[in-house]
């Protein structure tokens, strides 16, 4: 998986490419521990994300919890299969998906 970050003022965009699974989710988790300091708007761009397992969902949920305290979080570009996973797990109601 590739993680690309783009910070403009207090807005952080994270572009995820590849697979967010048991082996790669810890990478993103580590990244988020420091990257969210001072961020009030977090955008996950999932256009190039091919796969997400429950390990990946856990990281998104924990980012959402952090952002609830300090601003907002948005998901963009999720493909159809990933949208279905958000649907089945009830994440469509928790996450702000564009």
């Amino acid at each position: 998986m590739t993680i690309n970050k783009n910070l403009e003022g207090e807005k952080l965009t994270i572009v995820l490419e590849g697979r967010l699974d048991t082996t790669t989710a810890p990478e993103l988790e580590t990244e988020l521990k420091t990257a969210l300091n001072g961020v009030t708007s977090l955008v996950f761009d999932l256009k190039a994300l091919e796969y997400i397992s429950s390990a990946g969902l856990r990281v998104l949920l924990s980012a959402q919890k952090t952002m609830n305290k300090q601003g907002e979080m948005t998901i963009t570009g999720a493909n159809e299969t990933i949208m279905e996973i958000f649907d089945v797990t009830g994440f469509v109601d928790i996450l702000n998906i564009e």
């Binding site: 699974d21 048991t22 082996t23 796969y51 397992s53 429950s54 390990a55 969902l57 856990r58 949920l61 924990s62 959402q64 919890k65 609830n68 299969t81 279905e84 996973i85 089945v88 797990t89 009830g90 109601d93 928790i94 996450l95």
Partner: protein, 136 residues
């Protein structure tokens, strides 16, 4: 029927998925079922890697078979770790808000929802978890 006997460690996940994916691709499995199957395989294998043998490392035996028309894949996972029925776990409340929602507990729920059949058995000292999914 194809078999893979492998140490149940999370760093073997790629190899396990590779083994399953090659067989699915040979049978021209659709993209969506393949992704759902991959997710299910990941959840079950990682569960075994994390919990079956406590602090020790043991093996998982994975078998893949195809049956029926329309074609379904049948994948089973056997381990000789401590008896554990993942299906006995109550489903998470997916209507809770992010704040109330516990982190985790979704994996087995996703497996139940996306597969056509899931079976747990404890036989001859082994946990055997079998999943079945139409691939066409």
């Amino acid at each position: 029927m194809k078999k893979l006997n492998i140490e149940a460690r999370t760093d073997n996940l790629r190899e396990v998925l590779g083994f399953v994916d090659v067989l699915l691709e040979e049978r021209e499995c659709g993209m969506k079922p393949q992704m759902q199957i991959d997710i299910a395989v990941e959840e079950i294998f990682v569960n075994i890697a994390h919990y079956a043998y406590g602090d020790k490392v043991g093996n998982a035996r994975i078998t893949v078979d195809f049956e029926g028309d329309p074609l379904s894949v049948v994948i089973s996972f056997a381990d000789s770790g401590m008896p554990y029925d993942p299906l006995a776990k109550e489903d998470p409340d997916i209507t809770l808000s992010a704040k109330e929602r516990p982190i985790g507990g979704l994996g087995i729920y996703m497996v139940k929802k996306s597969m056509d059949e899931v079976i747990y058995e404890h036989k001859n000292g082994e946990n055997i978890f079998t999943l079945k999914k139409r691939i066409h």
